[in-house]
Amino acid sequence: MKLPDKTTTLEAAVARIPHGATVMLGGFGVPGTPFTLIQELLRQGQRGLTLIKNDANETGMGVDHLLAAGQVARLITTHIGLNAHAIELMNSGRIDVEFCAQGILAERIRAGGAGLGAILTDIAAETELAAHKQRVEIDGKSLVVETALRADVALIHANSTDPFGNLDYVATARNFNPLMAMAAERVIVEAERLLPFGTLAADDVHTPGPFVDHVVELGALSEEYAIVRR
């Protein structure tokens, strides 16, 4: 036995995304955002997308390119305060935005990845975020039903991968990536380096290969990955 090889090209991987797809994207700010996969999605031009991402990056960066190109119909997110352009699109009704408490977005995605139907929580129960959500009484306590989220495609930025798609992440670039890497029908990974089999210690793998469908090794990183000077 040997482990299967899932390496492919950027173009072929992103071509698997259909129009109208629901797409999860890793990242919290710059760290962990799959900028190269996003650029290829911009180039290929799939439209009518629903994006699930912690934030909307900043104006002129990352997913903002997809917003600007009119490729996005809907965004499920936690905070878009660093992207004035996204707020403008939301306020003018050109994109539909659903806000989630950050940890609950993480748990909804994880629940999707874990094959669960929903989680029950008291988070945000007293706020407008949960005003129209189903409630369930457990031991006399009214809890909010937060349904599991799954996507057609997850776009993941990893530090290292092997050919099977065993991944590791570095520092705060981990964030939503390992959760989304479990929660999509098709998981596409860009990795800063493709390592030979056996180089990643089995104890140090953050996302096990069975969850991953396609891995693409990045060349030189674009400016979008760099330090932001404000």
Binding site: M1, G115, P163, M182, E185, F197, L200, G209, P210
Partner: protein
């Protein structure tokens, strides 16, 4: 292991196609690994937290911290990964397990599986078996055609507590390969030297026979 069982296990191994993620249940299914070539691309999963199971090891070679879910000492391959029990079953429930091979007490003609409890006799708990049976993309069963008393294990209805309903796609026995179809059990292949009539006799529900010759294994 009898010759008939050996052939059953060898035949079941052909069910695994390149690139699959596979969980081999405790008992007979574990033996399937011996029929996979060194360069065959497959990922074996064990629910206690390992993808990429390598060869079984003797106690002398073993790592005290590295077992499979059946308690056997196993090894890793280049490209293996360890994870916790939640991630391990997340993989199973979210559709990343292409195939599981399980043992059975009973299989019904609707594909219901009973393999975890015999009330009053055997009730150690279901372990991970329910999730494997309910959520693997394809579930096949390896079992003898009859129990020790000679009673069929393939039945019209399960009489024992159910593991999962309608989950079994195919059954490998010491006598035959039998599919579960919308119309019930259908004979696909027979063991060398075993007649279709003998198989039907040892099956506790109607068994459809293929038109024409029945392949042997």
């Amino acid at each position: 292991m009898s010759d008939a069982r050996q052939r059953m296990v060898a035949r079941a191994a052909a069910e695994i196609t390149p690139g699959m993620v596979v969980n081999l249940g405790i008992g007979l299914p574990t033996k399937v690994v011996n029929h996979l070539d060194a360069d065959f691309p497959v990922c074996l999963h064990t629910e206690n937290g390992l993808s990429g199971i390598g060869p079984t090891l003797s106690p002398e070679q073993a790592d005290r911290n590295l077992i499979d879910a059946g308690g056997a000492y196993v090894s890793t391959l280049p490209g293996s990964a360890f994870f916790d029990s939640a991630v391990s079953f997340a993989l199973v429930r979210s559709g990343r397990l292409d195939l599981t091979m399980l043992g059975a007490f009973e299989v019904s003609q609707a594909g219901d599986l009973a393999n975890w409890k015999i009330p009053g006799k055997f009730s150690p708990g279901a372990g991970g078996g329910i999730e494997l049976a309910q959520k693997a993309r394809r579930v096949v069963v390896l079992t003898t055609q009859t129990d020790r008393a000679g009673n069929p294990k393939l039945k019209a209805e399960c009489t024992l507590p159910i593991t999962a309903r309608g989950c079994v796609a195919r059954i490998f026995t010491d006598m035959a390969v039998i599919d579960v179809t919308p119309e019930g059990f259908a004979l696909c292949e027979r063991a060398e030297g075993v007649a279709a009539a003998e198989i039907a006799e040892a099956t506790g529900a109607p068994l459809a026979l293929p038109a024409g010759d029945i392949p042997t294994f």
